[in-house]
Symmetry: C2
Subunit: 339 residues, 2 copies
């Protein structure tokens, strides 16, 4: 499907990924014409299947590390909003080719910022709680500068996103583009990869398949999980909000729980006996992670609304269907690292 040449468009880079596919769906539901640009590196085919027949949806395959496809640049004048969600986001995926991860963050973001400049479009960068590293301040407000190891195996992503933020705010300071920067904390829901090593998908898939449950460390490390529909609402609110855009905004759920508590919540839904195996914590794994979302609440009137039990039930149901449908081959044979 190729969208008409005379209408304003929203570009979603990384729109075939986990959060990106939900964002595309919500934008379509709100009547937007959406062009999805994705290299299909970590996207699941099913994510796009739900969108590709929509009359206001167009898919363009391309990697933002390279020059943008002519299908994008030839319509620069039509874009009024550009969302950048393009980057592998789980450690096993982004560490498989760290050079590509860094270039996606820096060169890819630069290409999209230049497109925003040419188009006069507003640009939203999805940054990450990883910019805070293994934080010494808890919860993390946006002005906390982080505790990131810039020489370690997570640096390609953490430092890549920090560099992408630097570029975005430089474009804003130079008057080249109107930018918004979201720092996304742990998000979960349907369309997650079963085998990308994230703790929610790991535990849900292991519980559903009756295999041993893998916990890294003693399970006392904490995370805060935001259901994906809440995250998408936050991203759109940030993009459309009446802000000056000169500061990043945390988006996430401030409800903090340990990995062990997460497992217990999953086992209340997937009611079956399990065996838990403990493995060593990966290098630079954050011990605690929880957003201070007071800026998002004050400036966007946004906060997550979906209770963990509801979000987990939807997620378990979706994974169960995927496993039944054969889209999930074997959720537990891939070596994983915790988020």
């Amino acid at each position: 499907m190729k969208l008409a040449q005379d209408q304003s468009l929203t570009l979603v880079a990384g729109g075939a990924g986990f959060i990106g596919s939900h964002l595309c769906a919500e934008l379509l539901a709100r009547g937007k014409r959406v062009v999805c640009l994705d290299n299909l590196q970590t996207a699941r085919p099913t994510n796009l299947r739900l969108l590709e027949d929509h009359p206001n949806f167009e898919f363009v395959e391309g990697d933002i590390v390279n020059a943008l496809p002519v299908d994008i640049t030839s319509r620069a004048g039509q874009f009024e909003r550009i969302y950048n969600l393009a980057c592998a986001a789980s450690p096993p995926q982004y560490q498989a080719d760290p050079e590509h991860t860094m270039l996606t963050c820096v060169v890819g973001t630069d290409h999209l910022l230049r497109l925003a400049e040419t188009s006069g479009a507003r640009f939203l960068l999805t940054s990450t709680s990883e910019v805070y590293g293994d934080p010494e301040v808890h919860p993390q407000p946006e002005n906390y500068r982080g505790w990131v190891n810039c020489t370690g195996p997570r640096a390609c992503y953490d430092e890549g996103k920090r560099a992408a933020e630097a570029m975005a705010f430089d474009f804003a300071r130079m008057g080249r583009a109107d930018v918004r920067v979201a720092r996304i904390f742990n998000t979960y829901g349907p369309h997650m990869h079963p085998d990308d090593g994230r703790v929610v998908s790991n535990l849900v898939c292991q519980a559903l398949s009756g295999r041993d449950i893998t916990i890294y460390g003693d399970g006392s490390q904490t995370r805060s999980f935001c259901y994906v529909s809440d995250m998408v609402e936050g991203l759109i609110a940030l993009m459309e909000g009446d802000l000056d855009g000169s500061e990043p905004v945390n988006l996430g759920n401030p409800e903090e729980l340990t990995v062990t508590e997460l497992l217990e919540a999953i086992l209340q839904i997937v009611d079956r006996p399990v065996t838990v195996t403990h493995l060593p914590l990966p290098t630079d794994d954050p011990r605690r992670r929880r957003p201070d979302i007071s800026r998002a609440e004050a400036q966007l009137g946004w906060r997550p609304r979906t209770p963990l039990s509801v979000g987990l039930a939807r997620t378990c149901a979706w994974f169960a269907e995927e496993i039944a449908g054969g889209d999930v081959q074997d959720p537990v044979t891939v070596p994983v690292a915790a988020e």
Copy 2:
């Protein structure tokens, strides 16, 4: 001068700059054949004049942000050492085009790392004490993760260098290149730009020309100044040392003094009455900066040897000559005390 096609070469990217030109001279003095790659963005013409007639020196003009010149790539097999000193390094210079600064750090370093991979050359990245930001730990050891504002006006450089370090260590982890990373602290000496806003060149030039002396803040912020010949020795020792290269190494002078004390030391050499004007501190200006060089001492047997009084006398003498020779646009010349 084009060097022969059958000899091993050392590449110095940024070799026409302040530290780079001294490095090229020292490598030539040690019998190396040196190819200098520089975009002449911040290089002074006089820096190259001293080198260009040397039979073992070749200059190639090019910007590492772009694909490397054929004059470089066609001789990939000859390079056995690659030094990357290419980046504007003073705030007014690197902030003039922050996008280019970031891309120089990330894309430029990537191009040179790929060349090192192809060549089988050892690669040295000159990183910076700026990766520590405005440090809360003093002095700064290499395992201090820093206090960097990734959204501010210095981030294009600070985060660019952090990202470049991340890339270098990823190349090392992946077995793609043998890398060394130096974190350079404040360095001074001949070949500095008179107008790049660095405190030593500012104060020396202002004192020599009899202009008002500009101090940012109250002058109580501290710096540690390493004379350039000491720095060059440290860089070569790091490149040639028997290390595993898996960790960055601080290079700098741990002798800490306030900006006011620096001014007093300069005025002992340039003996004339001055008027001091105080201006506000720039955004994110570090309050203190001093290297912990115990790693360099233990692993390289290196430490700075040039006393401040000696280094400053040489620097003042050089700037006085530059001013007299018309290379520095300032008519005022004054006698300078001997070393």
